[in-house]
C-alpha cells in the first residue's frame, strides 16, 4: 500500500513538488535493500568511481523498476550540482548539466536536504529540459549526505505517471546512505593506489584541518604526500595558555600505514604535553619517554617552538630535526639549534632549549626533509637552497607557497613533505578590531591590546589598568547586543604621542545597570582612564576613553 506522505510544514510549497519526510529503512522490502547494501566501497576496492556509480545506478533502477536514474554531485565551490552518472538519461552527463543550488528539482533537494516527489513533470517547477524531453512523467529524489555535508543528489524517474510511495523512498534512501561516503572518498582518492589511499585517508584525518587562529600571529602549512608511499610527516599549530602559540613539526622514520599511525600518536602526545604549559625542551623529553614506552621500535625527528606574541620571545628545541629558518626583511637565516638525538633513538634523550626573538614581521619556518632532499645533492647545500627559496617570503602563507613551489611542479614525489610557518604580525599604530559580540572575544582583545600598549611604551601597571577599562567597555558592548542576528562591535585604539584614545562602538542600546552587582564596570572605566565620554542613541553606544600612557 503506497500512501501520500503529507508535506512537511517547514518547506515552502512550490509548483508540483511535494517534500517527503524521511522514512525508516525497515519499511523497504529486504531483497531490494540487500542488493544495495552489497555494493562495495570504491575507495577500498578495485572498483573505480565510474564503475561504482554505474553499478549503483543499475541496482537502483532494478530495485525500484524505474526508467531513469541520475546522480548529480556538488561542485567544489558548493554552488552548483553537476550531473556525474546517469542511466536512462545519459544525456544529462553528456551535456554536463549544471543545476544551481536551490533551483528546480535537484537544486531544491540539495538546498533543503529533503526528499522531493513530483507526480507530474508537466506541471512542476523543474529546471532541466532533458527531464521533459525524455518524456519523464514522475520523479523522486533524495540528497546525498556525508558527515553532515551535502555532496549531491540521487534521483529516479518514471516514463509513465507513477506515485512514488514510502517504500520507494525507503529504498532510495538506503541507496543514498550506502553510496554517499563511497562517492566522497572515491572522488578524493580515485587516482591513487589502494593501500596508499588508506594511508592518505589516515594521514589527512590526523593532520589539523584548520590551524588555530591566534591574535598577533598568522600561521600557514602544507602537506604533500609522496607519490608511491605515504610517510609520517606531521605539523601542528595550537594555542597555549596566556596567549602563547605552539608550533610543531615531525617526521616519523619509515613509510606506509604504520608510519602514518605513529605520526598520529606522536602529534597527539606532543600537543597533550605542550598544553600542560611545559617548555619545548621538556615537551620533547616527554614525547621521547612516550615513544620509548611503546612496544615497538619507533623513531622520529621533531622540532617544537613556543612563541609569546606579546614580546616575540621564541623558545625552540629540536630532536634531530632539520634547523628552522627565520625569514624577515633582511632575508632568510638558519637558526642555531642543537639538533640533539631523534625521539626514540637514545634512552636518555635531552633536548636543549634555545631562546631568541621573532621580531614583528618575521616568519619562523619548520619543514621536513621531503621538501629539500634531492638525489646526489649534499644535505647542507639543499638546506642553503631552501633558505634562498623562502628568503623573499612576506607572510606565513607566502613562505609555504615558496617552500613547495618546485615540488608542486615535480612529476613524482619520492618522500612526503611538510612545511609550517608562523609570522609574528606587526601591530599597526592604529588598532582596529571588528569583533563578534561574544564573551570569548574578550581574551583576544586583551592579547591584542597588551601588545599594542607595549609598543606604545606603557608599563605593566598602566597596561593592566587600561586593558581592564577597555575590557569593561567591551563587556558592556557584548551584554547589550541583543539583536537576533549575530551582533558585532568595534574597538579602535590610537595614540597621539603620550595620549591614547580608545573607542568602543556597538549598535546596541545602552541600558542602565540593573540587578545587584551590576554597573561596576563603568566605575572601573572612570577610575582607570583620564577622560570618558559615553554617547548613546538609537543607533548604538559609543564609549570614548582617553588617558596618557603612564600617569
Amino acid at each position: 500500500m503506497e500512501g501520500h506522505p503529507a508535506e512537511a510544514p517547514r518547506h515552502e510549497p512550490r509548483a508540483g513538488q511535494v517534500v517527503l519526510p524521511r522514512v525508516d529503512a525497515e519499511l523497504a522490502p529486504s531483497d531490494q535493500v540487500r542488493v544495495l547494501y552489497r555494493l562495495s566501497d570504491p575507495a577500498l576496492s578495485e572498483l573505480g568511481l565510474d564503475e561504482f556509480l554505474d553499478e549503483l545506478l543499475v541496482r537502483v533502477r532494478d530495485a525500484l523498476s524505474v526508467d531513469t536514474v541520475a546522480i548529480l554531485l556538488m561542485d567544489e565551490e558548493g554552488q552548483q550540482l553537476v550531473a556525474r552518472a546517469a542511466n536512462g538519461i545519459e544525456e544529462e552527463v553528456e551535456q554536463g548539466v549544471r543545476i544551481p543550488l536551490g533551483l528546480g528539482f535537484a537544486g531544491r533537494i540539495a538546498a533543503e536536504r529533503a526528499a522531493i516527489f513530483i507526480a507530474d513533470v508537466d506541471h512542476a517547477d523543474i529546471l532541466n529540459p532533458i527531464l521533459r524531453e525524455k518524456g519523464i512523467r514522475s520523479l523522486l529524489g533524495v540528497p546525498l549526505i556525508v558527515e553532515g555535508d551535502l555532496i549531491g543528489v540521487l534521483h529516479v524517474g518514471s516514463l509513465h505517471p507513477r506515485t512514488f510511495g514510502e517504500s520507494d523512498l525507503a529504498v532510495l534512501q538506503v541507496a543514498a546512505v550506502r553510496a554517499a561516503p563511497g562517492i566522497e572518498r572515491a572522488r578524493l582518492f580515485s587516482a591513487l593506489e589502494q593501500e596508499h589511499r588508506v594511508a592518505i585517508l589516515l594521514q589527512r584525518s590526523l593532520l589539523p584541518k584548520r590551524l588555530a587562529q591566534i591574535v598577533g600571529v598568522t600561521a600557514a602549512a602544507r602537506y604533500l604526500p609522496a607519490t608511491d608511499e605515504v610517510g609520517g610527516d606531521w605539523y601542528d599549530v595550537f594555542e597555549l595558555p596566556r596567549g602563547r602559540v605552539g608550533v610543531a613539526i615531525g617526521d616519523v622514520v619509515g613509510h606506509g600505514l604504520r608510519a602514518a599511525t605513529l605520526m598520529g600518536q606522536l602529534r597527539t602526545a606532543l600537543h597533550a604535553y605542550a598544553i600542560e604549559d611545559r617548555g619545548p625542551g621538556s615537551t620533547l623529553e616527554f614525547v621521547d619517554r612516550f615513544i620509548q614506552a611503546m612496544p615497538d621500535d619507533a623513531m622520529a625527528t621533531a622540532a617544537y617552538a613556543v612563541l609569546d606574541p606579546l614580546d616575540g620571545t621564541i623558545r625552540v628545541a629540536s630532536a634531530g630535526h632539520l634547523p628552522p629558518v627565520i625569514v624577515g626583511e633582511s632575508g632568510g637565516r638558519l637558526l642555531e639549534v642543537t639538533p640533539a638525538t631523534p625521539l626514540g633513538a637514545f634512552s636518555y634523550g635531552a633536548y636543549r632549549e634555545h631562546e631568541m626573538v621573532l621580531r614583528p614581521g618575521e616568519t619562523l619556518i619548520f619543514y621536513t626533509d621531503g621538501l629539500i632532499e634531492r638525489p646526489e645533492v649534499p644535505l647542507e647545500r639543499s638546506i642553503d637552497e631552501f633558505v634562498d627559496r623562502v628568503s623573499g617570503a612576506t607572510s606565513a602563507e607566502d613562505a609555504c607557497r615558496l617552500a613547495v613551489a618546485n615540488l608542486v611542479a615535480a612529476e613524482k614525489l619520492r618522500d612526503d613533505a611538510a612545511v609550517v610557518a608562523i609570522q609574528n604580525v606587526t601591530v599597526p599604530a592604529e588598532l582596529r578590531m571588528w569583533l563578534r559580540a561574544d564573551p570569548r572575544v574578550l581574551a583576544d582583545v586583551r592579547r591584542a591590546l597588551r601588545r599594542w600598549l607595549r609598543d606604545r611604551g606603557a608599563d605593566e601597571r598602566s597596561s593592566n589598568e587600561i586593558v581592564l577599562a577597555v575590557c569593561e567597555a567591551c563587556t558592556n558592548a557584548i551584554e547589550h547586543a541583543y539583536s537576533p542576528a549575530p551582533a558585532h562591535f568595534e574597538l579602535r585604539a590610537r595614540a597621539d604621542g603620550e595620549l591614547l584614545e580608545i573607542v568602543v562602538t556597538d549598535s546596541g542600546q545602552w541600558r542602565p545597570p540593573h540587578g545587584e552587582h551590576r554597573g561596576r564596570g563603568l566605575k572601573i572605566i572612570d577610575d582607570a582612564m583620564d577622560e570618558v565620554q559615553l554617547n548613546t542613541n538609537e543607533r548604538g553606544t559609543r564609549i570614548v576613553m582617553r588617558r596618557s600612557v603612564t600617569r
Partner: protein
C-alpha cells in the same frame, strides 16, 4: 583555549578553590557553577585562592559577590586570597571591592580561623 582552571582541595572543614588564569564574562558563570558543586553543606569556609589569577574584571567581581551571598545564606564564610603583589590587586582597588570581602595574603592565613 580554556583561559582558566579551577582545582579543589579539602582542608578540614574548609574547601580551597584555587583558580589560575583569567576570569571574565566568558567563564565567570562556569567557574561559579563549578565552585557551587564542590562546596557541600559540611564545609564551613570557602577559601577562594586567586593568587595566580592574571586577570579579573567586573564579571569576576560579580562572581565573588554572588558566592558570598550564597554562602552567607547557608552560614558559610568566604575568604579571598589575593597577595598585594597580585596582578588583580589593582582591579579590585579600582572597583572598590577590598573591604567588602575578607582578603588575605596566603591560603594558610585564610585557613587560620577555619
Amino acid at each position: 583555549m580554556r583561559i582558566s582552571d579551577v582545582r579543589f582541595s579539602d582542608r578540614g572543614t574548609a574547601v580551597v578553590a584555587r583558580v589560575t588564569g583569567e576570569i571574565d564574562l566568558s567563564n565567570a558563570d562556569d567557574i561559579g557553577a563549578a565552585i557551587a558543586l564542590e562546596v557541600t553543606n559540611r564545609a564551613r569556609v570557602l577559601v577562594l585562592d586567586l593568587a595566580e589569577v592574571e586577570y579579573l574584571d567586573s564579571a569576576g567581581m560579580r562572581l565573588i559577590f554572588r558566592l558570598q551571598e550564597r554562602l552567607r545564606a547557608r552560614s558559610q564564610t568566604l575568604r579571598l586570597v589575593i597577595p598585594a603583589a597580585s596582578a588583580i590587586h589593582d582591579a579590585l582597588r579600582l572597583a572598590g571591592v577590598s573591604g567588602v570581602v575578607e582578603v588575605l595574603e596566603t591560603v594558610d592565613e585564610a585557613l587560620g580561623g577555619a
